[in-house]
Symmetry: C2
Subunit: 716 residues, 2 copies
C-alpha cells in the first residue's frame, strides 16, 4: 500500500547490466523512454560506452576531443591533495588551470583506464576443473587467470584483468589502455566539492558539487607514456556531449560505470547470517572500538590526532553496516524475500527431471559448504581480527613477508609480490602516524577479549590460548593487562627503522628474533596458514557449486523471459531508470531535485557547511538564470534517480534518453546501503550532481568558462 | 526561491476572520474554491455557523438533529477519564454507547456553549474613558464589563462574556446557551485517539484518531438543565453534514471555531523582546528546572511520580517556546518583517495631516509605555516566578485569599471570588500530589538564584533581599541553603488539613502566624500588591493607546482594500485555505495525507505507538475499501492544510467548499508554533483528522455503525 503520492515512475529498475545484455532489454528501455538504439549500448567501441573510463576505483568520462575527463571531486581528490602545499592550498581554494600549460601532474599512481576489449575466457579458465578438489580448483583458477593476464598485458600500455561473473559461471578477460600521464585541470574548492562532508554522506537532501576535471596525456605517438612535459592531450575516439535539454522529474536516465561488488544472489542463509550475526557483531565491535579510542586518547591531543582517520574510517563503516541493518529492518522479512525466490527456483527445478535434480543436489551441497563455513565463523572473525591490525598485525605482516620472499615471485601470495613491495614499504613507514602504543594495546585487549568470549572451546586456537595463558573454556582472560604490557614493552616494532629493516630480514632471522611481537607472530603463523588453506579449499569447493546455482537461476528466469544481470564485479555495467524521489515514511516525500536556495539554508559557516562568499553572492544576485529549472524557479544542484548503483560507480556519467551527460553519480541514499543484498525499489535511490549546477559554478563562481567552451557549451 | 515542487495552492491564507467580515472576502473565497454564498458564513443563526459550538477551551459541532456532538478525543478526554475506573478502563478500551440509555454523564463541569448572539458594546465600554488615568481606565473597563455580563446572563441557561477586539478598539458581548447535561457517546481507545502521544505532538507526519462524541441533553422544555435521567437530547436548529465527496490535495477547506490568542499586531520591539529575551530566558529556566527535578528525584520513585505531570507540562511549554524560537530562526529577519509593516504604516500616517500625526504620536507613546514595561521586565519575571509556585506560592495564595475575603465579592480579585472558592479549595487539597519538599526547595533555590543574578540593583525587591540576607548588589545568595532549610522546616503548609484550615483564616490570623512560609508571604505582599497596581495602571494606559494603533492599521489596510482580522480572543472565527503540504527544507516535502499503512509502520507496540489488534487486523484484511482515497490507494488518516488556527481551535470542524464536514482540526505542525506572532505561509500548517479515517474506524474497528446511521452515513 505504500505508494508515493507523486510517483511519476511506476517502479524503479533493478539491474547492473552487462553492455552485451542491452539488446535483450529493448522493450524495458523504450518503455522507460530511451531514445537511442539499445544496440548502441552494447558497442564498446562506440559512443557513449567508449567515452566511459575508469580511474581505478572510480568511473569517469571523456568530455572533449582533447582528452578532458570529468569525474567526482572525491575521485580526483588525490590529485588536489598531491598539489596542495601550505602556500598553495588547492583544497580550500580549488584550482582552475587556465591553459594546458597550467595543468598539474596528478599523484604518481594516478591512472586512466580506457576499456578496449572484453573477451570471454570461460572455457580457458574452467576447462577440466571438474575432477579437482577444493584447494586444487582454487589454485588452478588462480594460476590460469594469472597466465591469461600475463599473456594479454603490455607493460606500460595495456592492463588486463580476469573478471568472474555469476560466482564463476563466466569469466571475462578485459583489456584496458593504461594512461599514466594524468593531470589536474579543475577542481572546485572543498566548500563546494565536499559540501555537507561526513554529515551528509549517504543522505538526502544533498547539495554537494562533487565534480572534478582531469586530462589524459599520451606520448606524441598517441601511446601511453609516463609523465613528460612533451606529452600531448590524448584524443579519444568519442567523448560525451553535455545535455542542454532541461532534465525533469520522471525523465529517463542511465548510468554507465564500474560498480564494485554486490551480493544480490546470496542464499537465504547467507542473508540471514549478515542480518543476524555479521553486521550486529561488527557494529557492536566497532562501537566498542570507538569508545576505547575515546577513552585512551582523552586528554592526549597527539594520540587523538593519530587516530582521527581511524575513527573516521570506523564511523564510515559503522554507518554502512548500521545502514544495512536499518534497511533490512525497513523490509518486510528480507530473508523471506530471498527464501521466496529460492522456493520458486527449487519448485521449478524439481520439475526439470534429472538435470533439475542435479542442480538441486548442487544447491544442497552449496548450503552444506556454507553451513560448514558458518560453523567456524566466530573463530574466522575473531582470530582474524585479533591479529588483524596495529602492532600484532605489523608483526604478522613482517613475518609473512619473509616467508613469501623465499618463494619465486609468481608463487607468492598477493600483497607480497615484487610489485607490492613499494606499497608494503610505504605502509611500514607510515605506520607511526596512526599508532600510539597505549591506544593500540587497548584495542588489542578488546579484540582478544572478543576472541575469548565469542569463540567456542572446540574452535579455539591452541597457540593463542597458550600465549594468553588460558584454557579453551575460559571466556575471560585473566592477567591480560600483564600479558599485553609485556608484549608492548618487549617489542621495537613501534620504530620505523626497525620495521623497514625487518622487511629485508629472512624467515630464519625473524624466527630467531627476541622481539615480543614477532615471537607472537611466529607462534600464531602455523594456525594462520592452516586457516588460510582451509578457507581456500572451501572457496574452491564453493566455486564449483555457486556457478551451478547461478546457472539454474539464469535458466529459471530465462524460462520466464527475464534476463539476469550478474552481481557487480568492477566491470563495466549499465543501469537505467528515471529521475524519481521516494517516500522514506508515510506523509513525507523526498523530492528529486535540490536547489541553490537549499545551499544557502544549509550554510552555517562551519565545516562541512561553508559556502564560498563568491557563490553566496552569485546566488543572491540571481546570476546564471539560463541554468534555472522552470518548475523549481532555481538552479538544480543534486538529483535523485532510481537507477541501481554501488561503490565504484562514483564519478559515473549519468546520461539522458539521448545519451547526453546530465549528471555525475556520486552517492546513494541511506536506504540504499542494504541494496547490496536486496534492491528495494521503493527506497533505493542514487544521488547525482546535476550538470546545470556544475555549469553554473563553472560559469558564475569558478570562472572555468574556457572548459565550458571546450565541452561545446555556451556561457555568459 | 523556496517554492515547493508540487505546490497546488499559490499561497496559504493568513487570517482568523470574524464571521461578519466574510462578505468582504468574497473574491478570495471564490478564488480558493468556496461553493457557498459567502454571506451564509456571516449568519450566526444559520448553517453551518449555528452548528459550531464551544466546549470551553475546545470547539465542537452538532452532527445530528438529536444533539450529537463531535470534537477531538483530547477535548472529550475529561468525560472519558471521569467514567473510567480500574474495573472499567475506558481510556484503554474506548467506549461506544449502543443506545441513548448507555450514554454516560460527563464530568460535572462539562459544558456545551451554543452561541446565540454577538452584540457590539464598544460604546458602552469605552464611553468617557478619555479623561481617566491608567488605573482608573483599567478599573472602569473591568467594572463596565462585569455589569454588562451581569445584565445579560441568566443563571443556569445563558452565559455572557465581553470580548475585546483589536486591543480595545471594539468590544462584543457574546451570549451563549449553556448546556449542562453533557454525556459521553463514543471515544476510541487511547491507542487510536492519542496515537503518537507527546512524541508526535506538534509534528507531521501524524496518525492520530483525535475524535470523540458527546451528546447535549436539555430538560423536556428544551431548556438547559442540570443532569437528570429525564432530560432529552437537545434538538439543534442545524447540524453539519459529513461529506461523502473525496477530499483531495488542493481542495478548499475552512475551519470555524474559537481560537484562543495570537500576537499578530505586536510592535517590532515586542517581537524582538520575545525572540531576544523572553523565550530564551524561559527556555533556559525550564531546562534548568527539569535538570533540578531530575537530580532531586533520582532514586526516589515516589517523588518522581509526584513531579511526572509537572515535568510533562514543562516539556510541553518548552517545545512551544523552543518551537517559537526555531520558527523565528527559519524566518529571514522576523523583527524586520514587523518593522517593514510598521514603516509602511507610518509612512502612510505621515501623509495624513493632523489626524495622522496624532496617530503617530499615539504610537510613540505606546512604544514609550512598552519600553517602560521592558525596563522592569527582569523584576517582573523573576520576582513573580520566585513566589510563583510550590510552598511559597501556596503561602502567597492563602494570604491573598484572606485579604480578598475581607472585601465585598464583586470587588475581589478574579480567582478569589465566591465562584472561585471550590476551585481554590480543590487546588489546596490536591497540592500534596505534586509536592515533595526537597524537590520544591531545589526549584525555589533555582528561582531565587535567578532573581538575584538577573534583577539589576535598582529594581531589586528590598523585602526579598532582606529575607535572603543579601544586598541589592549581590548577584549570588550566600547561605541560601540554610535560609531555605529554615523555611521548609518551619512551615506546615505541606499538610493538606493545615492548608484547608488556613483558607478559612482571616487576614489578621495569617499575619500573626508563626509559619515560616506565611511569614515570607506576609513580608512580600506589599511589594506584590504594589507591582500589581503598577501593572494594571500600565495596562490601562496601553489600553488607551493600542486601539489607536489598531485603528491606524485598519485604516491603512482599508486604503489598500485589505480587511484586517483581529487577533484571536476565543471568539468565533473562520479561516480558509486549501489542503496543502509544505517543504520543511530543500529536497523534502511533507505530503498532505497520511494513511493506514503509516499507522502500521509507526506501530511498535510500545506507548505511544500501540495500535489495537482489531485495527491491525482490519488494515491487514483491507477492510473498508469504500473509505480509500484513489490517489493514495489507502484510507487517509490525517491531513494538512494551510488554514490559520491556534490553541482553542481544537475540535473545530473542517468544512469543504460546500460547508460539509471533512475533518476535525486538532493540531498544528512544529513550524506553526511561531505563527502566534508571524504567519509564515510557506511553513505554517494545520493538522486535521480525516473524517474518512473516523468513519473507517467507526465502521470497521469500533463498531459505532449506529452513529454513522444517525449522521446519515452509509456503513457496511
Amino acid at each position: 500500500m505504500a505508494v508515493a503520492l507523486v510517483s511519476t515512475a511506476a517502479c524503479a529498475d533493478e539491474g547492473m547490466w552487462q553492455p552485451s545484455q542491452m539488446p535483450l532489454l529493448s522493450d524495458q528501455l523504450k518503455a522507460r523512454g530511451l531514445e537511442m538504439d539499445p544496440a548502441a549500448l552494447s558497442n564498446l567501441a562506440g559512443k557513449p560506452l567508449d567515452a566511459v573510463i575508469s580511474l581505478g576505483g572510480c568511473t569517469a568520462s571523456f568530455v572533449s576531443p582533447k582528452g578532458l575527463v570529468v569525474s567526482n571531486h572525491h575521485c580526483v581528490y588525490g590529485a588536489v591533495q598531491y598539489n596542495s602545499t601550505p602556500d598553495r592550498d588547492l583544497l580550500t581554494k580549488g584550482f582552475v588551470a587556465k591553459t594546458l600549460a597550467d595543468e598539474l601532474p596528478a599523484e604518481p599512481n594516478a591512472r586512466i583506464y580506457v576499456t578496449q576489449e572484453i573477451g570471454d575466457v570461460t572455457a580457458r579458465i574452467t576447462e577440466g576443473l571438474d575432477g579437482l578438489d577444493g584447494k586444487a580448483r582454487y589454485d588452478t583458477v588462480e594460476s590460469r587467470s594469472k597466465a591469461l593476464v600475463a599473456e594479454c598485458e603490455e607493460p606500460g600500455g595495456l592492463r588486463c584483468n580476469v573478471y568472474n561473473f555469476h560466482g564463476g559461471l563466466q569469466f571475462s578477460l578485459i583489456r584496458q589502455m593504461e594512461i599514466r600521464d594524468v593531470r589536474l585541470v579543475y577542481a572546485p574548492s572543498d566548500a563546494i566539492g565536499k559540501f555537507g562532508g561526513d554529515v551528509d554522506n549517504f543522505e538526502w537532501p544533498r547539495h554537494t558539487g562533487d565534480w572534478g576535471f582531469l586530462r589524459a596525456y599520451v606520448g606524441k605517438d598517441g601511446k601511453p607514456a609516463p609523465y613528460s612535459p612533451d606529452n600531448v592531450p590524448y584524443q579519444p575516439a568519442s567523448w560525451l556531449t553535455v545535455s542542454q535539454q532541461p532534465l525533469q522529474e520522471g525523465d529517463y536516465v542511465m548510468v554507465t560505470g564500474y560498480p564494485g561488488s554486490t551480493d544480490r544472489y546470496r542464499l537465504p542463509a547467507e542473508v540471514e547470517q549478515a542480518i543476524d550475526w555479521r553486521y550486529p557483531a561488527m557494529v557492536a565491535y566497532y562501537r566498542e572500538s570507538l569508545a576505547e579510542i575515546d577513552r585512551t586518547t582523552a586528554g592526549d591531543k597527539a594520540a587523538a590526532l593519530k587516530y582521527a582517520s581511524t575513527v573516521a574510517g570506523i564511523n564510515n563503516v559503522l554507518k554502512l553496516y548500521q545502514g544495512n541493518l536499518d534497511g533490512f529492518a525497513q523490509m518486510d522479512n528480507p530473508v523471506g524475500i530471498k527464501q521466496a525466490r529460492e522456493d520458486a527456483l527449487e519448485t521449478w527445478l524439481a520439475k526439470r527431471g534429472k538435470q533439475g535434480r542435479a542442480k538441486l543436489e548442487a544447491i544442497r551441497e552449496l548450503e552444506r559448504e556454507l553451513a560448514a563455513g558458518r560453523a567456524v565463523r566466530e573463530r574466522e572473525l575473531w582470530f582474524g581480527t585479533a591479529l588483524g591490525g596495529g602492532l600484532s598485525g605489523t608483526a604478522v605482516s613482517l613475518y609473512r613477508n619473509a616467508i613469501e620472499q623465499a618463494k619465486p615471485d609468481a608463487e607468492r601470495k598477493s600483497g607480497y609480490q615484487d610489485r607490492d613491495a613499494p606499497r608494503l614499504a610505504g605502509s611500514m613507514t607510515a605506520f607511526d602516524k596512526r599508532y600510539d602504543p597505549k591506544v593500540d594495546q587497548a584495542l588489542m585487549a578488546l579484540r582478544l577479549q572478543r576472541y575469548a568470549s565469542k569463540v567456542p572451546p572446540s574452535d579455539r586456537v591452541e597457540a593463542l590460548d597458550r600465549w594468553l595463558g588460558i584454557t579453551a573454556t575460559d571466556k575471560t582472560i585473566a592477567g591480560l593487562d600483564t600479558t599485553l604490557d609485556a608484549l608492548y614493552a618487549g617489542s621495537k616494532l613501534g620504530d620505523a627503522e626497525t620495521r623497514l629493516a625487518l622487511l629485508k630480514a629472512d624467515k630464519a632471522a625473524i624466527e630467531a628474533s627476541g622481539d615480543a611481537a614477532l615471537k607472537l607472530a611466529v607462534a600464531m603463523m602455523p594456525t594462520v596458514l592452516k586457516a588460510e588453506q582451509e578457507n581456500e579449499a572451501r572457496a574452491g569447493r564453493i566455486s564449483a557449486l555457486r556457478p551451478q546455482y547461478m546457472e539454474a537461476m539464469i535458466d529459471f528466469n530465462q524460462s520466464q523471459g527475464k534476463p539476469v544481470y550478474p552481481d557487480a564485479n568492477s566491470s563495466l555495467r549499465i543501469t537505467f531508470g528515471t529521475v524519481n524521489g521516494y517516500s522514506p515514511r508515510d506523509g513525507v516525500r523526498m523530492t528529486p531535485f535540490t536547489t541553490l536556495d537549499g545551499i544557502v539554508a544549509k550554510t552555517t559557516g562551519k565545516d562541512p557547511f561553508i559556502t564560498p562568499q563568491a557563490e553566496l553572492d552569485a546566488i543572491a544576485a540571481g546570476k546564471g538564470a539560463q541554468y534555472r529549472m522552470a518548475s523549481l524557479g532555481d538552479v538544480p544542484v543534486n538529483f535523485l534517480s532510481d537507477v541501481d548503483t554501488t561503490g565504484g560507480n562514483s564519478g559515473s556519467p549519468t546520461l539522458n534518453a539521448k545519451g547526453e551527460l546530465v549528471g555525475l553519480l556520486f552517492d546513494g541514499n541511506y536506504e540504499s546501503l542494504s541494496a547490496g543484498w536486496i534492491f528495494n525499489p521503493e527506497l533505493t535511490r542514487s544521488i547525482h550532481v546535476d550538470t546545470r549546477y556544475m555549469r553554473w559554478v563553472m560559469d558564475e563562481v569558478d570562472h572555468a568558462e574556457h572548459l565550458l567552451t571546450e565541452m561545446g557549451l555556451p556561457n555568459d
